[in-house]
Amino acid sequence: MKFFKIIRILYGTIQKNAVDLLLALVLLLLVVFCLHPDRFAVHYNYIDKQSIASELEPAYWPKINSCKLNSLESKKSTLLYPNENPKIDAQGLAQKYNVQIGGAWKPLDCKPLFNVAIILPYRNRLKQLSIFINYIHPYLQLQNLDYTIFVIEQSKNKEFNRGKLFNVGFTEAMKIRNFHCFIFQDIDLIPQNPENIYTCSRLPRHMSSNVNTFRYNLPYSGLFGGAISITKQQFQQVNGFSNVYFGWGGEDDDFYSRLQNKGYPICRFCPDVAQYYMLSHKKEAPNKERFTYLKSGSKRYDTDGLRNLEYKVLDQKLEPLYSWFLVDI
């Protein structure tokens, strides 16, 4: 009986304060909605400045005459910005920066620890390309890297396929030289901090975790687009990027799940090192099919990628500041 009495009292109070209770409930839901952490950018685990050097994976054993990581010793932390109206005099620049034809450079006074291929997918953005190339050569030379820059241009007949262009770039670069480390990067991303060393760490690295267009925040922890670094071995093991993502978006998330599938965690450098400046351009409309591809992505990890890559090189040229490939995919 006592139980029923309690119920009745409860019912009475609820009935009396129904409006208030309803209001409280609505307000509570609103507060939960407004503050729910899943709706916001994330904080992430990162390698702090001091341990960057120990996390890198050199291509060669260090020797007495090995190069030092200049940039890691400099204490300055001012952000760099690109010159948005660069001179187009490629020949002059190549001479000034001592870049070999085809966009290769290595330090002469010491033995470099790393050899890196930087793969840039490209179509129809000449101004951004020249801004990027003008900026990146002195930036990379500050880091004493042995590097070569590849620009992979897609021919006009299909939608842009970033992932496939990366696969093509990887294959073509491997024909030229046995590179140890690969950087896959968009040309509109400018690294702002010289400490963000352009070579591979032990784990595949998401380099552009702090981009200005994302307000220098990381939208979600599974983001692996923009600029990434990965060793040759790791890239071959995950079978490269998927070839099916035509149009904007999807290939980076797919690549992340490929890495997860093979058991590679990813790493990032600390936020103030990994700062990037994105050159402004129109946002592309995302490809709507990307979600269906993403869902069925796990079935294609082994069949779709480097192993079934088909393309045709229409033209190739050693430009003064980069190696250029025009491909039909």
């Binding site: 409280a24 402004s280 946002k283």
Partner: protein, 331 residues
């Protein structure tokens, strides 16, 4: 010290049940009073504000047109048309509609871009909640003649009182309002809208539909401050999310290229909302700093305005006198 004591003593405590206050009775009461007396001028902004925002997001020309015409319209409405509609809820509803729309845009279009950190959101939400609660408190704590101990002026009683304690400061510092026939402290001024004298009256705030005086001055200032913070900070968060930002200084982001916002409708909506929010925030901070300045020179908005009006009147009188005399001389 005396200046600041106004701020410190101006608060009112124990206005109603804190839990109920926390539940945002602000909106509840607004809705209730609307139900009782649905008037066109109160409902109009609830439709007009969202419609204008949606219209402004169409393209650049629309944005410019709306963002220029709307403040002018509101200013005109404030100056002329609504002078005759004394107790209009138009401005209160406009404020509620604006805040609601901006909040909705922020939560449904800006936050899903995943570019805002939880901490930034906490600061923003704290400012919003602070603004709403203090606005509510400002309205609740407004001076009302019925609840106070002021009594109708009675000449007989007045003389008696004068005899009784002629040396009392309270009496010498009080005066009798000509309009409402009550005795008030000297710094009380009559409000035509509230139809009473309000001690330490600044002005009648149409946006909150209440008079600002000693009783709610402190809450009003906190409300101005936190809502200015909310509007400006929210605006900055939104505009740096949709535009191309750069690091200005001290970790502050500012936009430098918004040329591509009109390619997507939701981006344009965020952009227009953030500009609108910035405008509101700037007006609010102008009021906040003006009040701080008035506080510093030890006067109120009402007194300053009255003084200016008196000066103007004197001047015109003098001019007229001069003209009159010169006219006579000519004759």
């Amino acid at each position: 010290m005396k200046l600041w004591s106004r701020l410190l003593t101006g608060g009112c405590f124990g206005c109603g049940n804190p839990v109920r206050a926390a539940l945002g009775r602000f909106c509840g009461d607004g809705a209730a009073s609307l139900r009782h007396r649905v008037s066109v001028d109160a409902v109009l902004p609830l439709l007009l504000v969202p419609a204008l925002l949606l219209l402004a997001a169409l393209n650049l020309a629309c944005s410019l047109l709306v963002l220029v015409a709307t403040p002018l319209f509101v200013y005109y409405a404030n100056r002329n048309f609504l002078r005759f509609l004394m107790r209009s809820k138009f401005f209160l509803c406009w404020l509620i509609a604006s805040a609601g729309c901006l909040m909705a845009v922020f939560e449904l279009a800006v936050v899903p871009l995943l570019e805002i950190l939880p901490e930034e959101n906490y600061v923003f939400i704290a400012a919003v909640v602070g603004g709403i609660l203090t606005a509510r408190r400002t309205v609740k704590c407004q001076y009302s003649a019925t609840s106070s101990q002021q009594q109708l002026f009675d000449p007989m009683r007045e003389t008696l009182l004068d005899v009784d304690d002629s040396s009392d400061q309270a009496v010498t510092e009080s005066h009798v309002c000509q309009t409402c026939k009550r005795r008030f402290p000297r710094k009380a001024y009559h409000c035509r809208v509230c139809q009473t004298c309000v001690p330490g009256r600044e002005y009648h705030c149409k946006w909150l539909d209440c008079c600002i005086g000693y009783s709610n001055y402190r809450w009003y200032m906190i409300c101005l401050f936190s809502s200015a913070v909310a509007f400006i900070y929210g605006s900055n968060l939104a505009i740096t999310s949709v535009c191309h930002p750069f690091l200005f200084a001290f970790g502050i982001l500012l936009p430098d290229d918004c040329s591509d916002v009109y390619f997507q409708y939701d981006m344009a909506l965020c952009f227009v909302s953030s500009i609108y929010s910035l405008l509101i925030g700037l007006v609010l901070s102008y009021y906040f700093f003006k009040h701080l300045w008035l506080l510093a020179i030890g006067t109120t908005w009402n007194e300053r305005k009255a003084a200016a009006a008196a000066k103007h009147k004197n001047q015109t009188n003098q001019e007229e006198n001069q003209r009159f005399t010169s006219h006579q001389l000519l004759l």
